[in-house]
């Protein structure tokens, strides 16, 4: 990706190296993402896709390599944390709380002062009917939609999504695709992993693909 070198890239990863235990997952991974771009990370199972997402989210610290947001390191950087949302495999929903309470908590966490938009978000995600159901009564698809409802109203520029489309019916998939496309049109950025290729989906125009295998070739003679 040729990056206009006058303004620093929004998100710049330079020669990042991650390892699990003493097994190096990838090395010298450098990439920069600009506004309005969606990066699809491809790689076999266990090739470090989730570890890469988690290190960009700031959950995993890797001594080798730097990750910078608008030129500043992302470690303990509140401005980065407020413009980023990470949705992992476990969505962070409490089983004892109802969908509305879960969503209200996260909108407070993200810093919104009023929570009146919550019902609208649930309606937009098509799960308004289970607003007062506790999260353990929701199906897997409904839980994913509830987790995504948090993205609707957020001011976050960078979305980091781990397998967003798995386990969701076609209607849900189309819904999430539209949300992502709207986000990209509004100069947002998305970093996601997905088993199937997205080249036919509506994300294709602003899609870039990063294959982790390119950064593993130099591993065997460590």
């Amino acid at each position: 990706m040729s990056q206009t070198n006058d303004t620093p890239a929004m998100l710049a990863i330079n020669n990042l190296e991650c390892s699990r235990g003493d097994r190096t997952l990838f090395r010298q991974l450098s990439y920069s993402i600009n506004a309005g771009q969606c990066l699809h990370i491809v790689g076999a199972n266990g090739s470090g896709k989730t570890t890469l997402l988690r290190s960009v989210a700031g959950l995993v610290y890797s001594p080798k390599g730097k990750i910078q947001w608008q030129g500043e390191n992302i470690q303990s950087n509140p401005s980065y944390q407020s413009t980023m949302i990470y949705l992992g495999h476990s969505e962070g929903l409490k089983n004892e709380l109802t969908s509305v309470e879960n969503l209200e908590f996260y909108s407070c966490l993200d810093g919104h002062s009023d929570q009146s938009h919550v019902d609208g978000d649930l309606a937009q995600m098509g799960i308004l009917e289970c607003a007062d159901l506790t999260a353990n009564k929701l199906s897997f698809g409904q839980r994913r939609r509830l987790a995504f409802a948090r993205l609707l109203h957020s001011k976050a520029k960078l979305w980091i999504l781990d397998e967003p489309f798995t386990g969701i019916d076609d209607a849900g998939r189309a819904l999430i695709e539209t949300i992502c496309v709207e986000h990209l049109d509004a100069q947002g950025m998305i970093l996601l992993t997905n088993h199937r290729t997205l080249s036919q989906s509506r994300l294709a125009p602003s899609l870039a693909v990063l294959d982790l295998m390119d950064f593993q070739s130099s591993l065997d003679h460590s």
Binding site: L59, Q81, Y86, L93, K94, E96, L97, C108, L109
Partner: protein, 223 residues
């Protein structure tokens, strides 16, 4: 700015705790059972029980707090909520202070309020009961705060309970000594002021330092 972090996390914790009240009552039942085992194990009807009553109550309170600590972060870790806190712009130490405060109000506070009732069964004189209650009110928050550091360290271990006891009980000893010491001091008529100041000092230390230690422990183990 939206609700401040302390109140946000405290309210959420209360919501969760009152949602399944059975978990709420467990530390209290544990506390009562342990405390009542001592009279059953000692020769009945003699004043030995009255003399060691303070110590029995304090040891039961420490063990009950330990039991309550186990579940403090475990459910948040398993459903991914903990990760969301680590990467949220909110200050983690303040959030943890709110969470531990709410957790203490449902365990430590209940123990302290319930202890005088138990003292009746031990036939402890009222002035000692008052001193014991005061000690518990000052001591149990420090127990929860320091215990939360251990809970945060062992949250990712699937058999963390035993390890939590091993690493945290030695750190509870000063609070136990001063708390139980107050009752024996009162029993011999001495003034319990110095222990009260010591417990207050430990509480201030715990209030100021342990939220940062809890946040650091969570950042260390979650990766």
């Amino acid at each position: 700015m939206a609700q401040n972090t302390f109140y946000l996390f405290a309210r959420r914790e209360w919501q969760l705790l009152f949602r399944n009240t059975s978990a709420l009552v467990q530390p209290l039942c544990f506390f009562i059972i342990i405390a009542l085992m001592f009279p059953l194990s000692l020769p009945a009807e003699n004043e030995l029980l009255t003399r060691i009553g303070g110590g029995v109550i304090w040891v039961s309170a420490v063990l009950a707090t330990l039991l309550g600590l186990e579940s403090m972060f475990r459910s948040d870790y398993h459903d991914g909520a903990l990760e969301q806190w680590l990467i949220s712009p909110r200050s983690l130490p303040l959030a943890m202070l709110g969470k531990v405060f709410a957790h203490w109000s449902c365990t430590g506070l209940l123990l302290a309020l319930f202890a005088p009732l138990l003292c009746m069964t031990f036939r402890i004189p009222p002035d000692q009961i008052w001193v014991l209650f005061l000690g518990l009110m000052l001591g149990t928050p420090s127990l929860s705060l320091i215990g939360a550091i251990g809970a945060a360290l062992t949250v990712t271990l699937h058999r963390g309970g035993v390890l939590l006891a091993i690493i945290i009980l030695p750190l509870f000893i000063p609070i136990l000594i001063f708390g139980a010491g107050m009752v024996t001091q009162q029993a011999i008529g001495g003034s319990t002021a110095s222990q009260l100041y010591a417990l207050a000092a430990i509480l201030v230390l715990a209030l100021t330092l342990s939220p940062f230690a809890i946040a650091a422990a969570l950042r260390t183990t979650i990766n």
